[in-house]
Amino acid sequence: MKPAAFEYFAPATVDQALALLAAHGGEAKPLAGGQSLIPAMNFRLARPRALVDLNRIAELSYIRSAKGGTTIGAMTRQRAVEQSDVVTRGAPLLAEAMPAIAHPQIRNRGTIGGSLAHADPSAELPAVMLALDAAFRARSVTGERTIPASEFFKGMLETALAPDELLVEIGLRPMPDRSGTAFLEVARRHGDYALVGIAVVVTLDGQGRCKAARIALLSVGDGPVLAVEAGKTLTGQVPSAEMVRAAADAAATRDVDPPSDIHASAAYRRRLVAVLTRRALGRAFERAGATQRGRS
């Protein structure tokens, strides 16, 4: 159980890292926190020819807040995101989800960008980013582009990133007024990958009707799943217990087709989707209302 040999590079800048990735033409892998890549290498499930270690690139580690929202560098440790006041204020959904990821020892090394680039369907962050409609900035030697979260996740451990491309920044726009968010998951043990998880963002209009509801589920498919049908049942409606139940029902029956595995059957996952959607929406609407009262 030891990694196969590889060539190791530890560049100090993004430009150097991109040049190294380009020079190796797909045979080199970026190394972020290593909390997913190194286990795979230890079991020789992954045997990259070369590793481009991003850990010495200081310019990739930051959390900033500006008028346009919150921006987070890809190499920011999950632990730093969890403990950031800027994140708590600017992206409370992200702050709420962070402690659900693994254990503190893993979050001390694991990065926000690494988790997103890894795109595990059971991971929390891809669903959170989908609910928040985040924008991912990616760079390669040939240039830079912005990829919306809805186009980033392509399936099981697959993203829109090219092999020689780096995710460099995660952008989160400011929360609209009268918005509320909630994150919930069910796992067998604290820190384990979730059986089902949910991230919700709801926004109310001036009359207290639901203007938008973005509901993202994890661990129910090949990647994070946006519960479009559930969202539709809520749009334009005044939130009520019945509306929330109808949305939860739509999520469980129309939005997901969950897998069965050793941890949970498809039927049990569906049941969890219904229950968690109901609870998360209830909480998010309550928080959206609380914002409203606080402002008037």
Partner: protein, 159 residues
Amino acid sequence: MTLGVTVNGARYERAVEPRLLLSDFLRHELGLTGTHVGCEHGVCGACTVLLDGEAVRSCLMFAIQADEHEITTVEGLAPSSGDTLHPLQAAFREAHGLQCGFCTPGVLMTLVPFLRDHPDPDERAIREALSGNLCRCTGYQNIVVAVRHACDAHSTPDR
């Protein structure tokens, strides 16, 4: 490649292969066999060490990545002179917080930064802090007791 690293306060320079895990470097190159190797995929927690004061899995880092960083292993907990134990180690001995002892180094290295940040945790917080460390003897009960013991001993001035 050449690695320069401080381990338990002592400076080491060694030539290492990039694929050498930090856990294997500590055990095989430096002879610090207190850091145990269990699962090698980050789940069991036996190999937990401090990197610049924070708990990390030494099996999920390459030794070369520790270049110019500071590592603390279980051997670095007790004062190097005499045979006094670190207060947490003493509490584990008194409260029978270990059975076979395989998980103990990782448990201790997880708890040191945890207790630094939370000097007076309740049982729930302790159990959550320990959720990333597996004890195959299932001796969690006394591990939790030992942690409370360490906190109480610490806050009682005449002990």
